[in-house]
Subunit: 420 residues, 2 copies
């Protein structure tokens, strides 16, 4: 006797059953469709990669959290930690074959060697969209429109796309004489949501900033008093958002918005939805040099990452994924051994009419066949006993209402197609 | 200065650019649609798995070719070698929540630590479909219909679904008194295509089989003289194929068909297409115990695996993937700085009409904008200079024919929607 192996999976990874997949694919398809409407095409990068193309790009913490190993040929391999670095590598290797500006989206899994806990997975999907190879502000506005469109399409109502200008932020810091320390200041301001103004002040004072300067910074941000600064970027951007007919109710200029990362150089974005109560659902901005690590060409671009797993949690919480169907619409039951050929005839005619259908595989208690239909969220169950067969009829049970109806067999397809 | 890292990928892995992805997604979508028409739902299993759930199931060779490593917490991890074992593990862990019979398809990447060469990749997609939890022959016939449908849908014309009955094969071997050695005999017969009858005879003689018995075996198979044997399985199956209205020209009973694997116990299948000249494009059969390694329940089932990468090569060779479009249909050019708002207006109205479109990001030479449109396989380019603007007109260039047409702006959408 073989010993039985526990069929377990690593914490922080997941098996997706048909109902999970139906929901996930439904949401992904909606997101994809918006991206594709605006001319973004998709790419795919390998899962197993040379470690040197992955490691050393996310700081020590990132390296520690990257799955890496040596293969049997002595090569150092790593699994992607995010999609930005593999994208940069792909562009560096293929830019001469790509249309420029290059508009791409990418939805793939990434891995983090985390201690798994609520909201922290070892294996999850990322969903990125970028346009590179142009410095035009139209790119920023287009990405803003795509983001707003995605969240509207998914059924979010109460969300805001917060925007800020890194150029404005830098102008303010320059006037205070702390431009050199911009990354440190921005990293602290980024925590405003979590630790409040007092917390940020404390942190900045600890970092050695003059308390008078901190007060002046807070005053400028709180009062939105930007008369002394270069606000051209944000105003031009907002004008372009108008040209793009982005509904203003979804846009919010937020001078506090910092987006921790150093590499943003222009407009930055973040999507917040109070309804979902999960923090940021999407974020990104303009950067100057995507591929510098991998090639001499520099590609400026704008990109955002959607938190796919958080979006799934939010939609689930908001009750938006309750009615996602599985694939089958009709189950043809099998009454007895000798009528199974008859059932197969009905089944194949449904399939050939383009109606996703199933036939039960063997004559069995009808109650069992109905249970199966329920489990597969099937809308119509077709029953045909000897009486119906004698009269060339079928009985249809509409599963949602429980109503039954007997109709001539040759009306079955039009009945199902016409049912609203 | 940072040192530049070579943007290279491991041999046997691939970057997929937008044109590759358009083709791959087009083919996957066609396959998916057929599966879903017959009520198969999809699942997804993790990439990083406990090594004990993957290793030791494919023989020594399989273990050697499985990517495995120790993670930072000392856990042994492996990457899936195929989709059957992760599927079996998922069923063992979740069968009480699954509808039974369970019809699933799965399209995911798998990994092999191969020395890469033509047709051997380290990272590739598999595409499996199975129904488990029923012993009914209807399942075999349904899978046969799905397979034929997939290849027809993909545009294959000259293909055969070869079928055989493991039960018939066993009856023949029993009458020759060599049933105990069935696996060895079947493995040799499986090589008929490659080494011919003489080669198989030699191999069987080397294995110690009596040459008289070998001659009798060959005679029975060659003459299809099955009067003495139990052929009920194959005849019932062929009758069900008729009930399923499977076009007979695609079916071929092939008593030589062996499918090397030991675990098949009933009908076996294989798809051959001379047009493609690539050997088997799909294969599988009935098995008795999917999950025995992982649980006490035994699930009988029928399944086939489609060679997705081979199918892609075959379709490419047959010229079936030449006209797969990318996502954008229309490019709105930008004439000069002051008319960019105007271009954005046209762009957003196209998008809102549901036409996948793009606007060029900055005023630039029209020749450059047309080159971009070509690279993105865009069908229509919209140009609007000062003359057209003055008259509320737009000029459309139809990229395939090179023809241009100037029409009132408010007819643009209906013109593009109506263009055949």
């Amino acid at each position: 006797m073989n010993q039985i192996i526990q069929p377990k999976i690593l914490k922080g990874t997941r098996d997706f059953l048909p109902e999970d997949m139906a929901k996930r694919n439904f949401v992904m398809e909606q997101i994809r469709k918006v991206f594709e409407k605006y001319g973004y095409d998709t790419i795919e990068t390998p899962v197993i990669a040379y470690a040197e193309t992955i490691l050393g790009k996310y700081g020590d913490d990132g390296d520690r959290l990257t799955y890496s190993f040596e293969d049997s040929g002595g090569r150092r391999i790593a699994l992607p930690y995010d999609l930005t670095v593999p994208f940069a590598r792909l562009v560096a290797a293929n830019w001469q074959d790509l249309p420029m500006p290059f508009k791409r989206y990418q939805i793939q899994r990434v891995w983090r060697a985390e201690k798994p806990q609520k909201g922290r997975l070892r294996e999850f999907y990322q969903c990125d969209i970028d346009v590179i190879g142009t410095k035009s502000l139209i790119a920023e506005a287009e990405i803003a429109r795509v983001v707003v469109d995605v969240f509207k399409e998914l059924g979010f109502e109460d969300f805001k796309l917060k925007i800020n200008s890194r150029r404005l932020m830098n102008a303010i810091l320059e006037s205070l004489g702390v431009l050199e320390d911009a990354p440190a200041v921005i990293r602290s301001i980024d925590k405003m949501d979590k630790i409040g103004e007092e917390g940020v002040r404390e942190e900045l004072e600890k970092k050695g900033f003059d308390s008078g300067k901190i007060s002046r910074l807070f005053k400028v941000l709180a009062e939105k008093d930007f008369a002394d600064y270069d606000t051209s970027e944000i105003y031009e951007f907002l004008q372009l958002c108008k040209d793009f007919k982005i509904d203003e109710e979804y846009l919010e200029f937020d001078p506090y918005l910092a987006r921790g990362l150093d590499y943003y150089t222009g407009i930055t974005y973040e999507v917040i939805c109070d309804e979902a109560g999960l923090g940021s659902l999407c974020g990104g901005g303009r950067y100057d040099d995507l591929c510098g690590l991998f090639c001499k060409e520099d590609f400026s671009g704008v990109g955002v990452a959607f938190g796919f797993e958080r979006i799934m949690i939010a939609l689930e919480k908001m009750g938006k994924l309750k009615k996602i169907p599985l694939n089958s619409k009709v189950l043809v039951t099998v009454f007895d051994e000798e009528s199974s050929g008859d059932a197969l005839g009905i089944y194949t005619s449904l399939i050939e009419a383009g109606i996703n259908s199933e036939v039960y595989f063997e004559p069995d208690k009808l109650s069992k066949q109905f249970k199966y239909a329920n489990k597969k969220k099937i809308s119509f169950v077709v029953v045909r006993g000897s009486q119906e067969r004698a009269k060339n009829e079928v009985t249809i049970k509409i599963m949602e209402t429980g109503r039954q109806k007997t109709i001539p067999e040759n009306q079955l397809i039009s009945y199902i197609k016409g049912y609203v």
